[in-house]
């Protein structure tokens, strides 16, 4: 592997996050290299969502450091965070599309907020392009409530991609979708990754998704990075904690 030569996009060191006296993350370490997909495995409630919400500054970590593009997220002011967030995409597990707005408005929102000087024509063009990427141009003026689960996930994906982020955090992108739609989403993730040369962290316990998307798999257990390796390496493992995911 050519690990030494690649740029490190996300570097997490000794991350600790507790709610009350419940330690969710307890000395978590992870490095994500440019252009790679890291999948985080872990049981429900193990703190996977908490981890990526710390990375984008939605949650404040208690100690440790998170560097994205060499900048420390945990020590940023609100304005600096806003700046950094325009380079980080986040796909929410529940899609989090604004249900009082049309699909068009949903996609326009991040554009006009992060790129304040952008022209109307440019917004229009980017929105159309983003929807075309996920084959949903015809939903432009629909409301989120009119779309199916898989379509909503694709729109959410389009919204995440619209700012061309260099890093994308996916929170369970295929959970709750049927196998066919799941494959579609995985392919979209891979397609957009190739197109925009993004690096990503993908949370998943859908082993098909892991197999198809992961360059590196990390198991989050008891707040720490329990083991990491490629899909094939982990599949061979005899460790009980790992084997249960492959059954």
């Amino acid at each position: 592997m050519e690990t030494a030569t690649k740029e490190q996009v996300i570097v997490i060191k000794d991350l600790v996050k507790a709610f009350g006296d419940k330690k969710i993350l307890d000395g978590f370490n992870l490095t994500v290299e440019k252009g790679s997909n890291v999948v985080i495995l872990g049981k429900s409630g193990s703190g996977k969502s908490v981890l990526i919400k710390c990375i984008i500054g939605l949650l404040q970590s208690d100690s440790g450091s998170i560097h994205v593009f060499k900048e420390n997220i945990s020590q940023m002011t609100e304005d600096e965070l806003d700046q950094a967030r325009s380079k980080i995409g986040f796909l929410f597990q529940s899609n989090a599309l604004y249900d009082s707005m049309t699909i068009r408005e949903n996609l326009e929102f991040p554009l006009i907020r992060h790129w304040v000087d952008i022209s109307k024509e440019e917004v229009e063009r980017l929105v159309n392009e983003a929807l075309e990427n996920v084959d949903l141009l015809h939903t432009l003026d629909m409301m989120p409530s009119e779309l199916s689960g898989g379509m909503l996930k694709r729109v959410a994906l389009a919204r995440t991609m619209i700012l061309r982020p260099e890093v994308i955090l996916y929170d369970e992108p295929t959970t709750g979708l049927d196998p066919v739609t799941s494959r579609e989403i995985e392919n979209l993730i891979l397609k957009l990754q190739k197109k925009n040369h993004t690096s990503s962290i993908i949370i998943s316990h859908d082993m098909n998704c892991v197999k198809n998307t992961a360059d590196l798999v990390v198991l989050l257990l008891e707040g720490k990075c329990y083991i990491k390796g490629t899909y094939e390496e982990l599949k061979q493992s005899t460790d009980e904690n790992i084997k249960q995911f492959f059954e």
Binding site: I56, F92, L97, P110, H114
Partner: protein, 256 residues
């Protein structure tokens, strides 16, 4: 739950709402302002409440007049009916009933809307998209409720007085001019001003409580329901508490 724990929770909640209110004054009223969303909320909160406020105000004026008449007849002062009804509506019943209807309609819808936005991560999505949810969602709604309730109250009072005019005319005949001449002759500036001023505070309470409950909604559809429900209950109670304080203050200021 033991009484001690309940009392502690009550104090916690009070403290949290106070802090939320403090945040409104420190964060919410600084630029950048979300004009578009503010006007949108004024439309939703003000204009869309009109039919309900108008209907209840009309019925209230009518019923109040019909209920008061027999007592006044007993004392032989039936001619004072417009004065009595006018004072009751403008000083107390108009503002409070409008505020309660408003709390029921707007408080619950803000609580449910923000609550479901919270549990479906839409509020987090806003933060990620470079929008300050407190400004975009809370400040706009609280300002809109604070400004719209006084306007709704003034309109409600007017409709209520019209209902009262019809009520008077059920049993006797009064001309429109005479009725309103009597009403306005008995009304002072000191009757109207405190009554409208307190609705600013009622509106503020409905907005803050609705947003607070929504923002702190717990997971699941049940959590959203609880937010909406407790927003109405709490803001209704607050309306009465503020009303009580308002009476004391106007008395102290000698505005009675």
């Amino acid at each position: 739950m033991s009484l001690v724990i309940r009392f502690k929770n009550f104090l916690d909640e009070t403290g949290n709402i106070a802090r939320f209110t403090g945040r409104f004054f420190s964060v919410g009223i600084k630029p950048r302002y979300e004009h578009k969303e503010f006007f949108n909320q004024c439309y939703i909160i003000g204009y869309r409440s009109l039919p309900l406020v108008g209907l209840t105000a009309f019925i209230m004026g009518l019923v109040l007049t019909m209920q008061l008449r027999p007592s006044l007849v007993d004392y032989g002062v039936e001619s004072q009916l417009p004065v009595m009804v006018g004072l009751a509506i403008v000083r107390e019943i108009g503002p409070v009933i409008t505020a309660l209807i408003f709390a029921g309609k707007i408080g619950s819808s803000i609580g449910a809307e923000l609550g479901s936005m919270k549990v479906t991560e839409q509020i987090d999505a806003m933060t990620v998209s470079g929008i300050k949810p407190f400004k975009y969602l809370v400040a706009t709604r609280v300002l809109a409720t604070t400004l719209m309730l006084p306007l709704l109250t003034i309109l409600g009072d007017a409709i209520s007085l019209f209902g009262a005019y019809l009520g008077v005319n059920i049993r006797s005949v009064t001309s429109f001019d005479l009725f309103f001449l009597q009403v306005f002759k008995s009304l002072d500036f000191s009757d109207v001003l405190p009554a409208i001023t307190k609705t600013l505070f009622f509106g503020f309470a409905v907005g803050i409580v609705g947003c607070y409950k929504g923002f702190n909604s717990t997971k699941g559809t049940q959590g959203v329901g609880i937010s909406a429900n407790s927003a109405v209950v709490l803001s209704s109670v607050l309306i009465f508490i503020i009303d009580l304080l308002a009476v004391q203050i106007t008395e102290l200021l000698g505005l009675n």
